[in-house]
Symmetry: C2
Subunit: 201 residues, 2 copies
Amino acid sequence: MTVTTPATNGGRRTELLRIAADLFAEKGFKNTTVRDIAEAAGILSGSLYHHFDSKESMVDEILSTFQDELFAGYGEVLASDDDARTKLDRVVRLSFEAIDRHPAEVAIFQNDADHLGSFERFGYLAERGVQSRDIWLTLLNEGVETGVLRQDLDVHLVYRFIRDTVWVAVRWYRPGGELSHGAVADQYLSILLEGIASSAD
Amino acid sequence: MTVTTPATNGGRRTELLRIAADLFAEKGFKNTTVRDIAEAAGILSGSLYHHFDSKESMVDEILSTFQDELFAGYGEVLASDDDARTKLDRVVRLSFEAIDRHPAEVAIFQNDADHLGSFERFGYLAERGVQSRDIWLTLLNEGVETGVLRQDLDVHLVYRFIRDTVWVAVRWYRPGGELSHGAVADQYLSILLEGIASSAD
DNA sequence: CCTCAAACCAAGCAATTGCTTGGTAGGGTA
DNA sequence: TACCCTACCAAGCAATTGCTTGGTTTGAGG
């Protein structure tokens, strides 16, 4: 007897994608079997193919949907007329917010994007990567030029540190836990901008 | 005594472990097949079982050997009578040096330790994790107490940022490339301690 | 009452997986 | 010569993999 909540609309398809995303995030894409997904959904593995073409098309839909939302957010920040430092602040906060709202999607991207990106189907992942790098480098360079950031920094290195540090937080951050994503962003920005050494040093 | 090829010492076993480690690092443990390893070594998959019990025992040997060496290094630093800030400095440099010397091992640890750690055989991975956390927290707390670090920091949060940022560098750092591990450590420590904002800010 | 579509089941297939088994080539030693 | 030992091959097995196929249930609409 399958009485799926009729109130929770969005359909079975969306629900299955959520289940799959959680499993992909937990065990990795390749390491998650279609039988795992089906079992978690309470159906048989073959029944998944009524909803999706393949296991690959499931991650595809999961990742592309997330990426579209994320970059829409980036676009808004960049389109504003805030100064570089404010934009940096906003982009960092946006990223921690993404971890808070879509932890599974971020985890999948962190763990499997490299491998998936080698397939033609997932070429957009590499494109988004370039796009993201350009955003960060532009903001950092603008910050250095306008004097709000240190002049002696290797901007490319700083970019990689920021990118990695922000996204890798998905490994330990838990939505609904003690720390809000805003609190994490506060501390992170404080460390990143001012350092951990005492100013009297 | 068995003296096969005195020039290429270390034996076939060591050579096979290196080949396996590189593949595990590149594609992940589960995603690397015994046939992949054998092919890279120029032999058939069955022949691997003359040298090793199982695929699991290969990662086991790779990871435990690396961990032993790494923690021996940590031990030396902690045993010294340097102050907290110097020890922090040395531990960070030691970590980037480990990435330089054993990139495959670090990558495997980063990508697969969580999953492998759930098996009893790899319980030492979790132990090492706790040990590592204690080292960092001790140093950070000592730094705060002695006044060389800011008083208003969430030490646990700082620990996670440092840990992740340091080790995640394995994703882009390439031994023998333009940047030496020492140069990366310099920049990282500078950013971590002093921040990226200009001091005139 | 009939139709139809969405959602699922039951069974299985071809490929791939880790691993086993019995054998062999070849160099060193007695 | 006879005997090992190390390193390998050749063949294959049981389990697991992603996916296919044809059929069944269920509820909404005509």
